[in-house]
């Protein structure tokens, strides 16, 4: 076996951030080589450099032993490198064939030789087991088939070195199996495959070698058969994995939030969305709501925040807040981390400082009288970013440019900035990387110790059990079980309680 691609000490800095400090890896032909790392560790940047989309500041790229300098993706394609993008690069209104040949069309005279192209594509599809109809419009294809088109696209250009950027992120399990079978075939054909992912179980399943990057540097290059997922995860984070735990009992006597017989009836008169919910939440206490999604958790949050009409009473620090709207409730000191950060918590196409304003548009530091105080807001945004370790160039960066973990840390920071006495945290660590997860847990721990009451909704049972003092299990809109000491339960027991099995 020979080395297909070698990266030596690649470095790349962008204004404000160092994306790559020192990344090295060596990929052999006929192997699947995984590149793993947390979001923001520099995986994508190094692959964009290898694919000619960006130029490195330092270091060396060798393809088949020869040093190369790519100015654009065309150079990389000429060097037989192909990229299967995470977000498909396909024209929906084109046929599969048109999508594949675009940019390197076979010609006969001045026309495109569609017949020759079709023949070649059909042959390739058969050879690599990538089943596809070349004359169908891409818009009619499912996700798995679209990915096959992407793979055929790079193979059509003669790629021998294939980069897969988080290819399983969009696939359902069955499609993942198909993809892995295809990868198996490509490996057998002597291709070198670079597989970027942070799903470690998949990495161990498909890869021969694993390179781990952390904070822009290669920290390890290992054989996948020699490591466990946990070891890889610890290499990625650089320390032991964070544990969702709290210490001691910080519960104070005063009740921050009290729900009395809260129900949300449906207009159609069928079963209530939530029904007769009653519980107290003390200051300094974390109450976890466990339940399979869609059993009323979202509605419960909306009732507490005043986003939905309900019957019954909700009291906050002893006063009834039934008549208060969302803004007034927030003014009283209720903070919210919504479950879907991109749709409910951020304006993706706006800079961070504008996102800082959301939910805080009625007072300092954002407003000065009736006018927006942009300068202070930006300064305050910068402070939040520093305190909560939000990795982004600055307050004017667009929210969309941040990784999910950094977005979530920013949202947590924004809610904490007002020091609310109640925080409703809906899936606070969903879809974030291990590092951000640990950071968010740490913030919740600190807030709890300072006396904040936290209502935690999560689908991650270890998080629920570890972070909560008390657990409430929701099933079909009602609380079916209360576990007063969360340390006395296991994920298995909780799981069966959530499904209603005894």
């Amino acid at each position: 076996m020979s080395v297909a691609v070698e990266l030596r000490h690649i470095s790349k800095r962008f204004p404000g951030v160092i994306a790559n400090k020192d990344v090295s890896m060596s990929v052999e032909t006929g192997t699947v080589h995984a590149l793993v790392g947390e979001n923001g560790a520099g995986k994508s940047t190094v692959m964009k450099i290898l694919y000619g989309m960006q130029r490195p500041d330092g270091g060396e790229i060798l393809v088949n032993g020869k040093s190369v300098h790519f100015k654009n993706p065309n150079d990389a394609i000429d060097a037989s490198i192909g990229m299967v993008h995470q977000h498909f690069m396909l024209a929906d209104n084109f046929t599969v064939l048109e999508n594949i040949i675009l940019g390197s069309e076979p010609k006969r005279g001045i026309t495109i030789d569609f017949a020759a192209a079709r023949k070649k594509v059909v042959e390739m599809a058969a050879q690599y087991g990538l089943d596809i109809d070349p004359d169908i419009l891409v818009e009619e294809l499912g996700v798995g088939a679209r990915q096959r088109v992407e793979i055929l696209k790079v193979l059509y250009r003669g790629a021998r070195i294939l980069i897969f950027d988080e290819p399983t992120a969009v696939l359902v399990p069955q499609e993942v199996d198909d993809l892995f079978n295809a990868l198996e075939g490509l490996r057998a054909e002597g291709m070198a495959i670079i597989f970027i992912s942070h799903k470690l179980d998949e990495v161990l399943r498909v890869a021969d070698d694993v390179t781990v990057v952390r904070a822009g540097s290669t920290v390890a290059e290992v054989k996948s058969k020699d490591v466990t997922a946990r070891q890889l995860a610890e290499l990625m984070v650089g320390s032991e994995l964070p544990q969702p735990t709290t210490h001691g009992d910080t519960r104070r006597p005063e009740i921050t939030l009290a729900l009395k017989d809260v129900s949300i009836p449906t207009k159609s008169g069928s079963r209530d969305l939530i029904s007769h919910i009653t519980f107290n939440l003390h200051a300094g206490e974390v109450v976890g709501i466990a339940g399979v999604e869609g059993n009323g958790q979202a509605e419960l949050v909306e009732a507490i925040m005043g986003l939905r009409d309900y019957t019954g009473d909700i009291e906050f620090s002893g006063t009834n807040i039934n008549e208060l709207n969302v803004a007034h409730r927030r003014d009283l000191g209720i903070g919210l981390i919504p479950e879907d950060r991109q749709r409910q918590a951020m304006m993706m196409e706006s800079p961070l400082w504008e996102n800082r304003i959301l939910g805080h548009q009625r007072g300092k530091p954002v407003m000065r009288g009736f006018v927006l105080d942009k300068k202070t807001t930006i300064a305050d945004t910068r402070a939040i970013m520093a305190e909560f370790d939000v990795r982004a160039p600055g307050p004017t960066t667009l929210a969309a440019a941040l990784s999910g973990g950094n977005q979530q840390k920013f949202i947590v920071g924004r809610e904490m900035s007002k020091a609310p006495s109640l925080l409703v945290a809906s899936h606070p660590t969903r879809g974030v990387d291990v590092g951000a997860q640990g950071a968010i847990w740490e913030e919740l721990r600190r807030a709890r110790e300072k006396g904040m009451a936290i209502l935690l909704i999560s689908a991650d049972l270890e998080e629920l059990i570890g972070m909560s003092d008390r657990l409430l299990v929701m099933l079909r809109g009602t609380i079916t079980l209360e576990i007063t000491d969360s340390t006395k339960t296991t994920p298995e027991q909780l799981g069966s309680a959530m499904t209603g099995a005894e």
């Binding site: 989309m53 394609i77 024209a91 929906d92 084109f94 999508n99 069309e105 495109i112």
Partner: protein, 411 residues
Amino acid sequence: MKVKTLKTLRYATMLVFVLAVIRQITGASDLTSVGTASAALLLSVPIFLAGLGGLFSERAGVVNIGLEGMMIMGAWAGGMIGYKHGPWLGLVAAVIFGGLGALLHAIATITFGVDHVVSGVAINIIAAGLVRYLSTILYKSGSWLGPSQSPDAQSISTNGLPVLSGGKYFGWKSPDFLNYVAEKHWFFISDAAAILRGITGDLSYVTVVAVILIPLSLFILWKTSFGLRLRSAGEAPIAAESLGVNVYLMKYAGVLISGALAGLGGGFLALVAANHYQENQVAGRGYIGLAALLFGNYRPGGILLGAGLFGFADALQLRDSASVHALILLIVFVLSVLVVRDLRKKNFKKAALTMVFAALSLWYFLAVKELPGQLVTMTPYIATLLIMSLASQRLRMPAADGIPYRRGGLR
């Protein structure tokens, strides 16, 4: 392709038959006369050229509201050069001036990322003002007779299909068979012959060029790699970029071709439909071309159909307002066909609504003997509106049409 051609032929025959029946009922002889068909073609061509121009631009992902302005520039340049250096050079100038307008649009939208509609509207306003300004200078210098009209140019010669529709070939005068049949006043046969004679006889050579542009555009856009790349710029520019397609170049090419065609359309108005440039000659035809483009669902054949419908309505109102009255009966018929179609699809709500419209139209046809003049003049515009509302349901525009594109979208 052959199946499609047969289908088109069948629909065309059916339409002519319906027109013949309506002519018979109403006695509006101009509905299917040689003169109407000929005028309809003459009025369709500029709209078709504008629509085809729009096709190239929008397929490359640039919305081109500026077609109107590019036509104005083409018409003016056609008149200006045409009377001095002959009509053919005038047309060349029209193409170049239309292209200049397009270059402005391309620089604004592609290089500087200006909103496409804003840039297009600006070009329409600038073009109208600019040509007026230039005309005034020419008038002051004494070479023009007025600030709103250029001197007359020579006209471009015409010809017809040999044997079938007259014309002259190398000094031989061809017989005019279709006209002979048309004058026999046989039901349907004479109607069909008259329409064919109208669109094949006394043709300007420029019209022939315009017709050739249909297969040429189809070929370029769907059979060559240039066409595939140009369309990819309008469908998925970032994907195209990732495959090494120069998206900026494709967009520039699309917009420039667009302006050249719109300019040719303007030149046609000045030098073929008339024999001089006149202010307000374009009169919204750029916009109607855009409507034809939408009606044709971004395909050359569809644009031709849209332009043809508008040209027909326009020709009818210009020649004989009595025939416009007969046109209402045609609308009743078309709506009835739609009712049947909707009933078959079990779309009862829509069928009922269409039936109400059909009934109202029929009532209006029977109640009113002659349409008021204002309404007659409006006919082509009403027809455009009606057609648009019927056609817009199955619209498929290029996916990235009108979205500003920046290189480096990959990063």
